[in-house]
């Protein structure tokens, strides 16, 4: 019964998402494209944060390098978009392997600081390596020719790109979800709750943390590959440490204990930002208040709180 209701809600949400270009204005097509991309970014982050218990302050490095990789391939090689995304994932996986190798051996605040430091280094490189990255202006002026698999793709119509993003984010979310439900995912949850017990059960916790870190980085890179054509630019802001804060805020806002929490958080974040900035300049103040309230009163986030409330009502 419960699962049936949940499946029904999910089906309605998916149908609604598919229908967005037909029922909403172009403005909201853009908004929902952003929600999906940032939702994937936040969900990838939550694999290491909500599941494994690693608070990284450098997740934007993988998002940003994914964006740069796609932009570079589009500019210099004009490969199909699907290939660009694979390059983005490969580049971010490699970067995550390097940063993760050096970081996962540390715990808690030291891990957080080290990921922040690496994130800043990557930002500095993108900012200063002008010949490749075009410095503070970033890389722009690329176009999409084809999607791959024989399909055409254009940025002229935002609905088309929205549907591409929806399809890719849906597939990526399913893969991430399966990982969370697997035995490997169960071990990640166990590591968050008690890493010592896991190592005394015969597993090298550091290896598991590294694998989780690389998977998270890879999917962040995919999200980055999607954001570059959407913004039509890959710029250093995507790598800035403040960009690393966004998935943290989104995950907490939506609920770190639920797979879909970060997507809900992304939706809440982007929609609130859009609505609030039309009324007032102080979006950061409002966001700060909302986050403080969430952390103090609704630790489980929007989704967790809604589910708790629903369970109460059902009783």
């Amino acid at each position: 019964m419960k699962t049936k209701v949940l499946m029904a809600i999910l089906a309605v949400v998916i149908a609604g998402l598919i229908a967005v270009p037909w029922i909403a204005s172009y403005f909201y097509v853009f908004i929902f494209t952003e929600i999906l991309i940032l939702g994937l970014f936040a969900a990838s982050f939550n694999l290491i944060f909500g599941y494994t218990g690693m608070l990284s302050f450098g997740h934007a490095a993988f998002f940003g390098i994914g964006a740069y990789a796609t932009a570079l391939v589009l500019i210099h090689l004009e490969w199909p978009f699907l290939v660009c995304l694979l390059v983005s994932m490969g580049a971010s996986a490699l970067l995550a392997l390097m940063i993760g190798f050096l970081s996962v051996r540390l715990n808690e605040v030291y891990f957080a600081m080290l990921t922040l430091a690496f994130g800043m280094m990557v930002f500095a490189i993108a900012y200063q390596w002008r010949s490749v990255t075009n410095g503070s202006d970033g890389l722009a002026g690329f176009t999409l020719g084809s999607f791959g698999l024989g399909l055409d793709l254009t940025l002229a119509n935002p609905s088309v790109y929205y549907h591409v993003v929806l399809g890719i984010v849906a597939i990526a979310a399913i893969v991430l979800y399966l990982i969370c439900r697997s035995s490997f995912g169960m071990i990640l949850k166990a590591i968050r709750q008690n890493p010592e017990r896991v190592s005394f059960a015969g597993l090298n916790v550091r290896t598991y943390r590294l694998v989780a870190f690389v998977i998270a980085g890879t999917f962040a890179g995919l999200a980055g590959g999607l954001i570059a054509p959407f913004l039509r630019v890959a710029s250093p802001e995507l790598l800035h440490w403040s960009m690393s804060a966004e998935p943290i805020l989104m995950a907490i806002l939506g609920g770190t204990g639920f797979f879909l929490g970060p997507f809900i958080g992304s939706a809440a974040f982007v929609l609130l930002e859009t609505w609030i900035t039309t009324y007032t300049e102080s979006w950061m103040l409002v966001l700060g208040i909302i986050l403080a309230l969430m952390v103090i009163f609704f630790r489980k986030g929007l989704l967790g709180t809604a589910i708790d409330w629903w369970m109460e009502v059902k009783k």
């Binding site: 035995s183 071990i187 709750q193 008690n194 005394f200 916790v205 598991y208």
Partner: protein, 260 residues
């Protein structure tokens, strides 16, 4: 005579100026139950920490089944067949009781590397987990969140997790500490049954002398890091120095309780 499971030579651990474990030599034979007794601070937990890889020995050697395991990390020592419980409960609080055992089992069977199976549909592991819970008499709690079960049941759950890796050597660190007298009796009976099954080699540290004399084939008495004596329960009971050290300590405690 078979070969020892564990051979300890000159094992020493110093923390700065404190010598927590001092020059211990010991052999543990297959399927025996060896108790380590000694007052608080005697070095029992530190001894376990070295054998299980949680701490590096300052000096000495640890051989498991003829293989040098000195200074290996915990996960490797666990893989080689040493499994331990902790003096303070060490479980996965937000998982169910059954999932706690499933985590250990999927680590042991190598399922933990599977990215795309569905953990909640792994019936063979689930059945095996329930088997281990049955052995400890807590299978009726399998669906409860581990953090809500009683203190004594948590300690039993941890023993179930310790046994789930099919260890050659089981180290239990004060398994009945903090239990009610009833829980202590129940736990002692369970451990006795497991030991009598002949499937396990146990080392047990314990404060409760009744428990020790009930369970142990052999007793190692530690005092300030040193091996004071090792022998059968009968020998330990009649050993004058041990009586002094032990009864002396207990008298001190009694005096302290009388004059806080």
């Amino acid at each position: 005579m078979s070969n020892p499971v564990l051979t300890i030579t000159n094992l020493t651990k110093r923390f700065g100026g404190v010598t927590a474990v001092s020059d211990i030599n010991l052999e543990v034979m297959p399927r025996e139950t060896l108790a380590i007794i000694g007052p608080n601070g005697a070095g029992k937990t530190t001894f376990y920490n070295m054998v299980s890889g949680r701490m590096h020995p300052t000096e000495g050697k640890i051989m498991l089944d003829g293989r040098d395991i000195t200074g290996l990390p915990p996960h490797k020592i666990s893989r080689l067949g040493v499994s331990r419980s902790f003096q303070i409960n060490n479980i996965f609080p937000e998982m169910t009781v059954q999932e706690n055992v499933e985590v250990v089992l999927s680590a042991y069977h190598g399922h933990s590397r599977k990215l795309f199976n569905i953990a909640s549909r792994n019936t063979s592991i689930q059945q095996e987990a329930v088997e281990f819970l049955k052995r400890l008499g807590i299978d009726s709690l399998k669906a409860q969140r581990a953090e809500v079960i009683s203190y004594g049941d948590k300690r039993l759950l941890e023993i179930a997790m310790v046994l789930a890796t099919q260890p050659k050597l089981v180290l239990l660190d004060e398994p009945t500490a903090g239990m009610t007298p009833d829980e202590t009796r129940r736990t002692t009976r369970l451990i006795k049954k497991l030991a009598d099954s002949g499937d396990y080699t146990f080392m047990i540290t314990e404060h409760d002398m009744d428990v020790v004399f009930n369970l142990a084939d052999r007793i190692l008495v530690m005092h300030r890091g040193e091996k004071l004596f090792a022998g059968t329960p009968e020998e330990v009971k009649n050993h004058p120095e041990v009586r002094v050290a032990y009864l002396g300590e207990e008298d001190d405690e009694a005096v302290e309780e009388a004059n806080p």
